[in-house]
């Protein structure tokens, strides 16, 4: 029988993988992709707690929906900023934006 613990453990493992990616990736697009893994892990935790513990309102699943919305908005703005970084610096790596200029 699948329990809430299974889903929460998977969510924690995905969160660990995403954190590792955020800290180790040097291409900024890859960093944003790791942030996506983090947000999906959080949404999965919300949805599973709602399915197991909230049989009337399913508030966690509604919240998981909003997490997906915020993730999409964050990613589109992030990519637009990275496009500007590419135009001004010629690359989207962490070395390219290590200096700040007006």
């Amino acid at each position: 029988m699948v329990t809430l613990g299974h889903f929460l453990l998977l969510s924690g493992l995905l969160m660990a993988v995403g954190l590792y990616g955020v800290l180790t990736r040097r291409n900024l697009i890859a960093v944003l992709m790791s942030v996506e893994i983090l947000l999906n892990a959080a949404a999965l935790a919300f949805a599973s707690v709602a399915a197991f513990r909230d049989p009337h309102l399913f508030a966690g699943q509604v919240f998981a929906l909003f997490v997906i919305v915020v993730a999409a908005a964050e990613l589109s703005i992030g990519f637009a900023i990275l496009l500007n970084v590419y135009r001004t610096h010629g690359a989207v790596t962490d070395d390219a934006i290590s200096e700040m200029r007006g």
Binding site: L4, G5, F7, L8, R26, I29, F52, A80
Partner: protein, 156 residues
């Protein structure tokens, strides 16, 4: 039966997520990220929520990888440089901290999955969370306009 499905989906989702954050080839990372999100949509089906699974499939497993591939193409970043040594140490430390944080989660053994129909989820969305729903639509509109303004090519 559902335990087997869970273990298969979870194992493949984890493997593809690890591949997505470690491979040097950016295009492969984007595709394996799409597969991870597709498998998470399967997990939502296992949780008895087809509406959430459909949204996850349409947004996270289809639209976002396409956008990611476009931006990889436009910035010509085929590969990601390998991490520095201190970055690997910090990453492993943070991952271990996250696992310690989630250690207490394993104990939640009891409870039953309650399937939720798309109708129920939609009614909850438009009654209990109506204000949040409207704020989310304004947020999406703002993000769309903001992305267009930010990515516009400056004249001169």
């Amino acid at each position: 039966m559902s335990l087997t499905a869970f273990y298969a989906l979870a194992a493949f989702a984890l493997v593809f997520a690890i591949f997505a954050v470690t491979t040097a080839n950016m295009v492969r990372a984007a595709f394996s990220l799409a597969i991870t999100f597709f498998l998470i949509a399967g997990l939502y089906l296992l949780l008895g929520s087809p509406a959430l699974a459909a949204i996850q499939f349409m947004v996270n497993a289809s639209a976002i990888p396409i956008m990611t591939l476009f931006i990889i193409m436009m910035t010509q970043s085929r590969s990601s440089a390998g991490p520095r040594t201190w970055q690997i140490a910090a990453g492993l430390l943070a991952a271990a901290a996250a696992l310690v944080f989630f250690k207490g989660a394993v104990g939640h053994g009891d409870g039953q999955i309650t399937p939720v129909s798309p109708e129920t989820l939609g009614v909850n969305l438009l009654q209990a969370a109506l204000l949040l729903f409207e704020v989310a639509s304004v947020l999406l509109l703002l993000a769309m306009v903001g992305a267009i303004v930010l990515a516009r090519r400056r004249a001169g």
